[in-house]
Symmetry: C2
Subunit: 226 residues, 2 copies
């Protein structure tokens, strides 16, 4: 039995909240095809490597990060016959949510890598589509899981968490209602006992990410229509 031969890559939709907006990590391609075009970071899966392992390796290579912070999950796979002019390539896209930590793209290779506001189009291959799918997944995940905390440092305030929601969803949220929701939904966030110092206004209590995997009840964004 013979069967077609494929190459398999992983591509990463790495999202963070910087400067009050949702941004994505993009690299400028240094070789053909799509030379000099912006693209999602990614690379080939090695011969003896699991898909998730390849995704973690690429993420570490591009960002220098690896630790327990943030979140990485499989997004979807894309395998249209003509998506890569070099041949038959199937890519498994992963979605990463990272806090806005100091090391901005201070990794290693990846010609130039930069944080760019989402909404930029004209990416290489079918990466416009993959990015759009990743953003929608992130927006949806914030509704049903406590993963917004993956965008925050280990300890954060309710206001910081709210600003994540506002940046990812692109809509403003009432601070008082959000505070009630965040502090009363079981397993969403846990108080550390500490508080912020030195800022303007009343000091805010600090929280850690809660242990729940699902928000119950969920925190739904406003839907315009069905």
């Amino acid at each position: 039995m013979s069967y077609p031969v494929f190459a398999v890559t992983v591509d990463l939709v790495v999202l963070t909240v910087r400067e009050g907006e949702l941004q994505v990590l993009l690299v400028r391609r240094g070789c053909e095809p799509f030379l000099d075009r912006w693209a999602l970071p990614g690379g080939f899966v090695l011969a003896d490597e699991d898909l998730a392992t390849a995704a973690r390796r690429e993420l570490a290579e591009e960002t220098g990060l690896d630790g327990p912070g943030g979140h990485l999950e499989q997004l979807a796979s894309y395998g249209a016959p003509e998506r890569d002019p070099r041949g038959r390539v199937v890519t498994v896209a992963y979605l990463a949510l990272l806090p806005d930590l100091p090391a901005p793209t201070a990794g290693t290779d990846a010609a130039e890598a930069e944080w760019r506001p989402v909404g930029q189009t004209g990416l290489a291959f079918d990466h416009d589509r993959i990015l759009a799918d990743g953003i929608e997944r992130a927006r949806s995940k914030l509704e049903y899981t406590p993963l917004a905390a993956a965008f925050c440092p280990p300890e954060f305030t309710v206001a910081a968490l709210r600003q994540v929601y506002e940046a990812v969803w692109g809509e403003s949220i009432d601070p008082r209602n959000f505070h009630r929701k965040a502090t009363t939904t079981p397993g969403f966030i846990d108080p550390t006992g500490g508080a912020t110092e030195g800022g303007t206004g009343r000091p805010a209590r600090l929280y850690r990410r809660g242990e729940a995997s699902l928000l119950n009840p969920p925190l739904l964004r406003r839907r315009l229509d069905g």
Copy 2:
């Protein structure tokens, strides 16, 4: 630049509601590896074929069905290095939701294909895991989308729709509250004007699947805990 060589397959988690319970289409393997073991139906992606096209082709081959009824979506990809002893194979799993139509597995090839209650384990490869992921996806989809109608024939009653929910979720639902929810959520179901005849009890109105892609508000199952 050289890179590892892969084979790519699609595997299908085909679910239906039969005899009041959730069932999955399984085939008995006719060749090594895992000879005679139950497995999800699937096959290799052809040289010039898109992933979704391959999934639709396999679905048609195994079930004989193809029409507009039902629902097919990508589930996830699985590519552990040792998941197939023949070599490096990445599989893209698809989830199909089908009504319980007459032609039960009356397709073509696929040595023996049968509807089996979900919950059966001991499948070939990593298909236990894929099946579990598919079931969880289906349960979740029923919460946020009108896709339960994909398990029903084109025209159906509210009671039939409720029985789909009960079978997929494995819990009983109050018929009166479900009726209110199904008939008042915009875009969930649309009345055809017709009604059932000849059954026992009061005739039930018939409905078609609504045009909404998302239930708003969603229809959440009971969660034991976060």
